[in-house]
């Protein structure tokens, strides 16, 4: 519960301003908390100049867990449609760093049918050890089966950290694993770091629609679990000389029993890079003004062999399909070059492009926030700049 020390409170109102939920009001020079509105987020506690606010953290003693018994970093690999998903390698890159900081091994968990042959690749990408659960019945992804296998392994081996991709698959069964283990899970993280003093995993994720970054900890429960967005972490280059241990695990009949039946699995996406994997992204914003002008975006994208992206304003207007939306509620991209045309640079959009090496922005408003993070900015009208750019690139290319 949030409490106010009335002796210390000077009624300055800083906490009232800081509260995102309208739960604090200064009445007669003292802060008063409306407990029905307070979500105990703790933002106010840090802002109080007098240290008058306290969030009584009832210790979650119910966990009955001794964190010191839990050691090691795990990454759950994602293997579907005959491929190891790139996010697996990204997680191993970060996992390697965390494991080094904690001086523990990095373990990958690989589940599927015929996946044994892909275990070595996980070692080359940073794992010290791979737990392989290879069984014909694991050909299809069934949440209940995968969740039981991972939670069973975790109960036996007690890792302190488990990381998974924030993909459709990861976000489907990993919450089940966390619930089975009765531990915390932080969704859709964009940054992970270890606090060495207490071996806490600091898990950072966008909150409040991307307007804030919240750092989440899981102090009294183990394992500490996170799903991580694809394309925000960097994978290590494969190193064929790396050595690792490969442990084969046989799933039990009970683990394999399921109430789900996968009738068929269909891969729809054409081969080749999707937007998230494009080296160059050309993105359209509301400033493109009309659906008709999308032709310019497509033309430039074709010239540069770029992926086409959009702001939500554009996908809401259906000038481009929903899957092109970049940002908080869309895809994250990390291309060599991102070019935004008529995009204001709302925080929800730009959280999706932070990984770009170079950002080019064209906007007629010199005050547009996108210029704050652009490598190169052009103040101008997209209807003038785009055709010129297309013409000149064609000339460069001799077409």
């Amino acid at each position: 519960m949030l409490t106010v020390d009335l002796e210390k409170c000077i009624g300055c109102g800083e906490c009232e301003d800081a509260c995102s939920f309208g739960a604090i009001e200064v009445k007669e020079d003292k802060a008063v908390v409306d407990l029905d509105k307070c979500t105990m987020c703790g933002t106010c506690v840090d802002t109080c100049p007098e240290g008058a606010l306290e969030l009584a953290k009832q210790e979650s003693e119910a966990s009955g867990i001794n964190p010191d018994e839990w050691r090691g970093v795990w990454v759950t690999a994602e293997y579907r449609f005959g491929h190891t998903a790139p996010v697996t390698f990204e997680l191993l890159g970060k996992g390697r760093e965390l494991a080094n900081d904690l001086s523990v091994p990095l373990t990958a968990v690989l589940i599927g049918s015929g996946v044994r042959q892909h275990a070595q690749e996980l070692v080359e990408r940073g794992a010290d050890r791979v737990l392989v659960v290879d069984h014909p019945e694991l050909e299809q992804f069934r949440d209940d089966v995968f969740a039981r296998i991972v939670s069973g392994l975790a109960r036996r081996e007690k890792p302190e950290i488990i990381l998974a991709g924030a993909t459709a698959m990861g976000r489907s069964y990993i919450p089940q694993v966390a619930t089975m283990l009765e531990t915390g899970l932080t969704a859709d993280c964009t940054e992970l770091e270890v606090r060495k003093e207490d071996r806490s995993l600091l898990q950072t994720r966008p909150a409040f629609g991307g307007n804030l970054l919240a750092t989440i900890v899981c102090p009294n429960h183990r394992p500490q679990m996170s799903t991580v967005r694809p394309h925000v972490l960097k994978a290590l280059e494969p190193d064929a000389s790396r050595q690792g241990e490969i442990v084969e695990i046989t799933p039990t009949d009970e683990e394999l029993s399921s109430r789900l039946k996968i009738v068929e699995s269909v891969m729809e996406k054409a081969e080749g890079p999707g937007l998230a994997d494009s080296d160059i992204v050309v993105a359209a914003g509301r400033g493109m003004e009309s659906e008709k002008n999308m032709a310019l975006i497509h033309e430039l994208a074709e010239l540069l062999e770029a992926g086409v992206g959009a702001s939500r304003a554009v996908t809401d207007a259906e000038w481009l399909p929903h899957r092109t939306q970049i940002g908080q509620t869309g895809v994250t991209v990390s291309p060599k070059l991102y070019m935004g045309f008529g995009i204001s640079g709302a925080i929800q959009h730009v959280v999706g492009i932070q990984g770009a090496d170079m950002i080019v922005a064209v906007n007629k408003d010199p005050e547009a926030p996108i210029f704050d993070l652009a490598t190169y900015g052009i103040v101008g009208d997209v209807k003038t700049i785009l055709p010129l750019l297309i013409k000149k690139i064609k000339k460069e290319r001799g077409v």
Partner: protein
């Protein structure tokens, strides 16, 4: 078919403003609405009832004003609804939320199907549905985009989406599903529904009422805690390309060549 739909009241994104200086949300005059995906969850429940008969109940864990959300669901045609509300629930993360919702559902009775939205737009976690399924001991299918009742009414055939494509999944009931916006188009409230919503008493259940242990709800039952919050900042490495459009574009082409892109 007995169906329970879990809905959450969230701040209406279009009325939230952000104070950059202070790094906080300004929620004055902010309205609360039903989480967008939860409209699709309600619609899925109503459509199933239209097709095979049965009863649709909605529930929400939230502050007392979450009654408004239940009332709106009743105006859309659900049979009944409850709010589980207690100061002890404040600060709940998804583990504490699923514990509370599971207790409430068990209190209400037995259900063939529990429906959740894919995710709540305030937290964006998408964790409550799958976690709740584990608590209830039933199978879960997430990201449902198409739904069909198989002849015997004891099974559903679902299309669940993923990045690369989709799966067709059959699941025995009881089960839990989370639904996408593409599953259906939510209906609008009828006049009769609105009248009924106005007159209906909406029960409010406390932690005690649903038999929840206080150590497992709210902040006390939440393994995760917010350590710090920060306003995101970006390195400004900006260089503005000045001049007439022609010059600006030439300068850009130069930069792209320098970087080996052209």
């Amino acid at each position: 078919m007995k169906i329970a739909v879990c809905i959450k009241q969230v701040p209406d994104a279009s009325t939230v403003r952000f104070d950059k200086e202070k790094g906080t949300l300004v929620r004055e005059g902010v309205e609360s609405v039903i989480n967008p995906f939860d409209y699709n969850a309600i619609e899925a429940g109503l459509a199933l009832k239209d097709q095979v008969g049965g009863e649709v109940s909605v529930l929400t864990m939230g502050p007392p004003q979450a009654q408004d959300a239940i009332r709106e669901a009743i105006s859309l045609g659900v049979d009944n609804g409850i709010v589980v509300s207690d100061r002890a629930f404040a600060g709940a993360d998804t583990l504490a939320t699923t514990y509370t919702l599971a207790k409430a559902i068990n209190k209400l009775g037995e259900f063939d199907l529990v429906i959740c939205g894919k995710q709540a737009v305030d937290g964006d976690t998408a964790q409550v549905g799958p976690g709740l399924a584990v608590r209830l001991g039933i199978p879960c299918v997430t990201c449902v985009d198409e739904l069909e009742v198989l002849e015997d009414g004891r099974k559903l055939r679902l299309k669940r989406m993923c990045e690369q494509g989709y799966d067709i999944v059959e699941v025995e009931l009881p089960a839990l599903i989370t639904v996408l916006a593409s599953l259906n188009t939510p209906r609008v409230p009828s006049l009769k529904g609105k009248m009924r919503a106005k007159k209906t008493d909406i029960p409010m259940l406390s932690a005690e009422d649903i038999g929840a242990e206080t150590s497992k709800v709210g902040l006390a039952g939440s393994p995760t805690q917010v350590a710090t919050t920060t306003v995101p900042t970006f390195d400004a490495k900006r260089e503005m390309l000045e001049g007439e459009p022609e010059e600006q574009v030439d300068a850009l082409i130069g930069k792209l060549k320098e970087a080996g892109i052209l």
